[in-house]
Amino acid sequence: MTSLPAPRPGAKKLGLVIDLDTCVGCHACAVNCKEWNKGGPPAPLPDYDPQGAKPDGVWFNRIHTYEAGDGAAGRTVHFPRSCLHCEEPACVTVCPTGASYKRAEDGIVLVNTDLCIGCKLCSWACPYGAREFDEDAGVMKKCTLCIDRIYNDTIPEAQRVPACVATCPAHARHFGDLGDPESAVSKLVRSRGGYDLMPEMGYRPVNKYLPPRKTACRAPALAEAAPDGAKENGGVGERLLAWLDRALSS
């Protein structure tokens, strides 16, 4: 059924909270996502020409890097982009076959690849580019929120989180129930001012992004770092420093 489940108060909304302040842009989340999911329910996750001149393939997670702002106020921000498991996912409602669906029990958006006809309309309907077409299988693929990890009784409880979250070395990715206002992720969103991507589209993403923190520590200007205090006529140490300063500046 591509009609959306009726919203219930207090319903579970599983999703991710991504901290743009601590993300270091290492792509480990994308790599571990690919690694896990090429063996999971959406498998195989194809690669085309992986060793060739134009490698390409289906990935559920893509890490962009942006510059935001100018001059001293400018920031470099690493930005992981994946399915936001929206509350109004038009990718689901446009599906003509019922292959796309949003789970009533936890809000995860999935594709049943046995029903998918590969019309690609869902990828047109997603503003965020969360869906990618599998040329080999002729069907659409997308992030499953690692449904085969988070409910998996056969792995240690600590590992029952999406692969991207499990692997993040900077702890920039958090997984939890965003429908529960008292969950750790909901509290994190409240305390850090977590926000939606493209709210004007009206898709109401479940995943939230935490903005980079305002920072007071800027790199000191060169004049502050190496003041002219290294005087020529000072002691041996100061003259050595002055020589070093000239040598390094030339």
Binding site: T2, L4, Y66, F79, P96, I117, G118, Y128, G202
Partner: protein, 314 residues
Amino acid sequence: MTPALSVILFTTASGAGYGLLALLGLLVPFGLLPATVWFGLATLVLALALISGGLLSSTLHLGHPERAWRAVTQWRSSWLAREGLAALLTYLPALAFGATWFLARRPTPPAAALGVLAAAGAIVTLFCTSMIYASLRPVRQWRNAWVTPNFLLLGGYSGALSLAAMTHLFHAGASLPCALSLLLGLAAIIAKLFYWRSIDRTPSVSTAETATGLGHLGRVRALDAPHTEENYLMREMGFRIARKHARRLRGLALIIGFVIPLALAIAALILGALPALAAAVMAALLALTGIFIERWLFFAEATHTVMLYYGRAA
């Protein structure tokens, strides 16, 4: 958006087919078209051939064409499913319309009623096709109030020119189809010009700043892409057309699709017999060619918000 040949062929051909079916179904009951059985059958066959050819072509871009039958099941939420269902249901009154007309050798009242039903189905199908595009929020050139009038008027216009060609072919009085072509053609040009004006003047609501939520820091620029080569998203959603090429193609679509066919339709009104037939057939073929260019541009000029993440405009 990357122009998909199969979808462009489908919307052009079946648009003309549904326009032709709608006009046939609406005009015959009022005695405004020749009532001869061969004219009726030939026109209906042409309409259904254009429709069916288009529908078959649209299944070619599917990853799994053999599962296409599933595409009518989700009519509650999906405009694509509604289009599929409306297209299939329209066959029933259309075929019954032809059969009743053929058996009675004339368009009897039951045939006329079936004709009106078939016309309604044709118009509903065209409307659903337009809504597939007009409902997509990430593509501002598609989620535009002029898209539905464009699809309906262009279907009606190309259908009217096909009808004029058929009436000339059967040596019947073709002044009404020619006049309708002129009327619908002028309306279609106006709607298309308003559409082009609208997409040129309406900026995207979404920007790189809203897409990343980093606007509070200042202007957002893409520094590093996630991958070195083009991926599915960029191939499907990242098609670019130079502004000067778009302008030239808009001009071509107007001249080939409207100016020459409308001049030919006027000539067909004035000329007699064979020259009129040649002019009417030429007009229909040129209009379809022009609408094909217009439909290609409808894709090529459309931009998708996902490209904002890749440092491009939407």
